[in-house]
Amino acid sequence: MDDSNTDVIQGTLDMLILKTLSLEPMHGFGIARRVGQISRGVFKVNPGSLLTALERLERAGWVDSEWRQTENSRRAKFYTLTRGGRKQLEVETEQWMRRAGAIARLLKAEG
């Protein structure tokens, strides 16, 4: 496995979680799997970091959590995006786009 693409870029994990939860409520492993799938294996999410981030987001009021039955009838903690979280996702997405655009322009100019 190549070292360089295991970690989520610092500071973007929160945004990825919020984005993933904006599609539907999900449990921790579901989020990790979804991030992995959508990024085509570029990002791997470590459960320690993920659960810490979820706790943080929950305390910030951007997600809510609830213990529920899963499809294979086991108990799991499901996370839902709140209205505040949706707004936060918009803010972060907008910022990220601006930055990414700026970097892309810089790199292009250099080339």
Binding site: F29, N46, L50, L51, E55, E58, R59, G61, R74, G84
Partner: protein, 890 residues
């Protein structure tokens, strides 16, 4: 919303730790199960799936820890973990911890104690309003400060333009005996007689009742007293109704008119608890043979607004230079040399200031040495721990976390040192007050000063923090792999250099202190070797005072003193007893002008010490007769006036001639045509009166009955066959058998008096000695640490040398040489420093130059010796290094 959530979630975790932990564990477990299921679905065996998950995520405990430690509520727990870890680390190196904590405790404790003691004396403004405006005024007697006479005070009070108010108080204490109904123990109080404006000059108002008024302070005025708060509380149960009531002092009724406020500190006479008006006679100024013309008062004045110290000085000297007819002056108070006036605070601390400043300097040196030592210890420890740090960084420890842990360790060390330092300070302050010279002003205000302690603790903690973080910085700054390789090979040279420089600094500072202690030690030795002019061994002394109206008649007073002397002489073990008006080396000072008949060069006779003594005084004290005869029982009121003078006076006034048969007049007799001359009948050996160092021994002795008034109190001197101190209770009982109401104070052996007369030097010496010992120990530890560390770090090199054929003694010599070279440099630096610093000690030295070569060489030798001992253990260890073991371990 979010703050609310932060709070509630955090509190929930805190209050229901187990639930929260289980929830986290469940979630992690659930995650891993899902993960495993996923992998199995992809075709792995359950076993392989689990291993893959483990490889990818690490173990589950770690995961749980990560999630658990995220919230704010977990900070205390992680700090507690840091503290526990730091404590464990410190416990594991008890030597380092003990030395570091002791060093900090000694440095902090000594520094806090000394500054706590010195601050209220030298630096804190006196506890009065506008204390800088209170001046003390002395009669200038040959450039020395002398007490003023009452009539001089009166003249200054009436003629000056500088002071809003002036006052006088008596220098010897008024000691009335307080008796009260239903109380079987009469109590002797320390009191003070003051003129009416005394408290107004200090700026103190009575808390209850009224202050003295001008109408109280007149001859035969009302018997009124003001009490201190402490006396009022202790003896009168803090009853405000006592004001206006009468109490019994020396068998007479006195009216209490006021109580002083609680915080009042009478710096002029700290022991005084009760005050009465002076009530001297202002009318008889032309009669020079009255008590009002005796030099026995201290004078204070409060400057008017806008008047400076210099202006007041000019004003006073203007008064001194221009006598006026309405203010006659006797020769001994002619003010020809003017006045000496300066702020009260300067005056009351004048005698102790040089010693205290030297001590402050010494304690700063100790603190500097302590700081250097701790820095050195931490640096050495840092070098040892670089390997550990590197390993921890390699295992993934975050830099912040490492720094936090090291800071915790440093803080723990500083905390332990600080706590122990506070204990040391507390103990040291108590010791200081106990060994302080009796005349140390404001001793009552000495207490551990929190601000000073906090400052010293802050300084040492900052040093600890700064130095303690160094290893973490080093470990995390550079590439881990190189660092680990480097550590495993041999340690880093840069630190050794820093540590050597620090050790040189430490040793040279210690040398400065040692030189100071050495110089003081030699001074005191030389001083105490000076013969005082009498035999102080086996002599007991006590001050006996007549008090009360019973003794108003002079004849009754003489009889009391004579009967008391006889009673003392009858006590078994007493071989002789005598009274004297002033006792040598006791702090008594009683000097008078003198004139000689047929004096070829009259005028410049200055002041001679006057002793009114019972005839047996010379034998009792062991003062040798040089020529003529001693005084005897026939020299009484009716017979011809005779005196005995000291050898120094005889040689000064009658060089090459016989002093016997010459005539003189003393004190109030000077210049009076109708006063009879006194004939010199004997010459006795010189006696040191003021101090062993003070040269003037000119003295005139006469019997009490041939003097103008009865001296009161008198000092009883008793020669004993056995232990002098042991006889004190018996002698006291004997005197009280004559009259049980008479105060007896200042009971001491003459040996103690002699030693106490050098109390200040002794005080400074004791402190310097204590500090020098500490400094020497710290320096030795410092040298040992550096050399020992050097041996450890150079083990490989030494192994190679041994393998190449170096002998054990050769290797030991190599290490020793290194240590002594360091000390040598330090000695050179330290000697230069000591030569500069000894300036501060100059006024405390006696008989030795501040650059005394013997002391400097002696101290340098001592330091070299100690450092050789400190180097011995590492040298021995180096010599025993087995090359095979060392080289293989590489």
């Amino acid at each position: 919303m979010s703050v609310w959530r932060q709070l509630t979630r955090g509190l929930r975790v805190l209050t229901r730790r187990a639930d929260a932990d289980r929830e986290v564990a469940d979630e992690v477990e659930h995650f891993l199960e899902h993960d495993a299921a996923e992998r199995e679905a992809a075709g792995l065996t359950p076993e392989a799936a689990r291993r893959a998950a483990q490889l990818e995520y690490g173990n589950r405990t770690q995961m749980r820890e990560e999630v658990r430690s995220a919230g704010w509520e977990n900070v205390p727990a992680s700090v507690a973990a840091d503290v526990r870890y730091a404590a464990r680390r410190l416990r594991r190196s008890p030597g380092f911890t003990a030395v570091a904590v002791m060093t900090l405790a000694l440095g902090l404790g000594a520094c806090t104690a000394i500054f706590s003691a010195v601050y209220p004396i030298l630096f804190e403004p006196l506890p009065y309003p506008e204390p800088g405006r209170i001046e003390m005024i002395w009669d200038s007697n040959g450039g020395e400060r002398a007490d003023v006479t009452f009539h001089t005070c009166r003249e200054v009070a009436e003629r000056n333009h500088s002071f809003a108010a002036t006052a006088a108080a008596d220098a010897p204490l008024w000691q009335p005996t307080l008796t009260s109904a239903g109380d079987t123990h009469p109590e002797r109080l320390d009191g003070q007689r003051v003129t009416a404006d005394y408290f107004r000059v200090l700026g103190v108002r009575v808390a209850i009742g009224r202050d003295f008024a001008a109408s109280d302070d007149v001859l035969n005025g009302p018997k009124v007293v003001i009490l201190s708060d402490a006396l009022w509380r202790r003896r009168f149960g803090a009853d405000p109704g006592i004001v206006g009531r009468q109490i019994i002092l020396d068998g007479e009724l006195w009216t209490v008119i006021g109580i002083l406020p609680r915080g009042f500190d009478n710096v002029i006479s700290a022991a005084a608890r009760i005050w009465r008006p002076m009530q001297y006679d202002t009318a008889q100024a032309a009669n020079f043979s009255t008590r009002e013309w005796g030099h026995h008062l201290v004078m204070v004045g409060r400057l008017r607004a806008g008047v400076t110290e210099e202006m007041a000085g000019r004003d006073l000297n203007e008064i001194a230079r221009n006598p006026r007819g309405e203010f006659p002056r006797p020769p001994w108070a002619d003010l020809k040399l003017g006045f000496i006036a300066s702020p009260l605070q300067v005056e009351i601390t004048r005698t102790v200031r040089p010693a205290l400043l030297a001590i402050v300097g010494a304690v700063l040196l100790v603190l500097a040495i302590a700081c250097v030592n701790v820095t050195n210890l931490l640096l050495a420890r840092g070098v040892q721990r670089q390997g550990e740090m590197a390993v921890r960084v390699a295992l993934g420890a975050a830099r912040g976390r490492l720094v936090r842990q090291l800071l915790t360790e440093s803080l723990l060390l500083a905390g332990a040192g600080g706590a122990l330092g506070l204990v040391v300070a507390q103990f040291a302050v108590g010791t200081l007050v106990a060994i302080a010279p009796v005349d140390l002003p404001r001793a009552g205000a000495i207490a551990v000063n929190g601000a000073v302690f906090a400052f010293a603790l802050g300084v040492t903690t900052l040093i600890g923090l700064a130095v303690g973080v160094v290893p973490a910085m080093h470990a995390t700054r550079s590439d881990v792999q190189t660092r680990m390789r480097q550590v495993s090979r041999h340690a880093i040279g840069g630190h050794q250099l820093t540590r050597r420089v620090l050790v040189v600094a430490e040793v040279s500072l210690a040398l400065v202190l040692l030189v100071g202690a050495g110089l003081l030690l030699r001074s005191l030795g030389l001083l105490l070797a000076i013969p005082p002019g009498f035999h102080p061994d086996h002599v007991l002394t006590m001050q006996v005072q007549e008090s009360g109206h019973k003794f108003d008649a002079a004849e009754v007073q003489y009889q009391f003193f004579e009967r008391a002397r006889e009673a003392a002489e009858r006590v078994p073990g007493v071989t002789a007893a005598a009274f004297t008006s002033q006792l040598p080396l006791s702090g008594d000072i009683d000097g008078y002008g003198v004139e000689f008949q047929n004096d070829p060069n009259p005028g410049d006779d200055g002041s001679v010490f006057r002793y009114a003594v019972s005839p047996s005084y010379f034998e009792t004290m062991g003062i040798p007769l040089v020529r003529g005869r001693l005084l005897n029982a026939h020299d009484t009121a009716g017979s011809a006036r005779v005196v005995v003078i000291s050898q120094s006076l005889a040689e000064r006034k009658f060089p090459g001639r016989d002093a016997l048969g010459q005539e003189l007049r003393l004190g109030s007799g000077v210049g009076k045509k109708d006063e009879p001359w006194a004939t010199i009948v004997g010459v006795v050996g010189n006696v040191k009166q003021l101090s062993l160092a003070f040269g003037n021994t000119d003295a005139v002795y006469m019997t009490p009955r041939q003097w103008y008034w009865v001296d009161n109190p008198m000092s009883l001197v008793i020669r004993t066959s056995g232990d002098a101190a042991a006889l004190a209770p018996a002698v006291r009982r004997a005197i009280w058998s004559v009259d049980k109401d008479q105060p007896i104070v200042r009971v001491a052996t003459m040996d103690e008096m002699v030693a106490n007369s050098e109390a200040q030097r002794r005080f400074a010496l004791l402190i310097f000695e204590a500090f020098a010992v500490v400094a020497l120990a710290l320096a030795a530890i410092g040298i040992y640490g550096v050399i020992s560390g050097g041996v450890t770090e150079r083990a490989r090199e030494i192994g190679v040398r041994a393998a190449l054929g170096a002998t054990r003694s050769g290797i030991a010599a190599l290490v020793l040489r290194q240590g002594l070279a360091l000390t040598g440099i330090a000695v050179v630096v330290g000697l230069a420093g000591a030569m500069a610093a000894s300036e501060a000690l100059a006024s405390l030295l006696y008989g030795v130059s501040r650059l005394d070569a013997a002391t400097y060489f002696g101290v340098a030798g001592l330091l070299l010796g100690v450092s050789a001992i400190a180097c011995w253990a590492p040298a021995w260890r180096a010599a025993r290094i087995d090359p095979a073991v060392t080289l293989r371990s590489e």
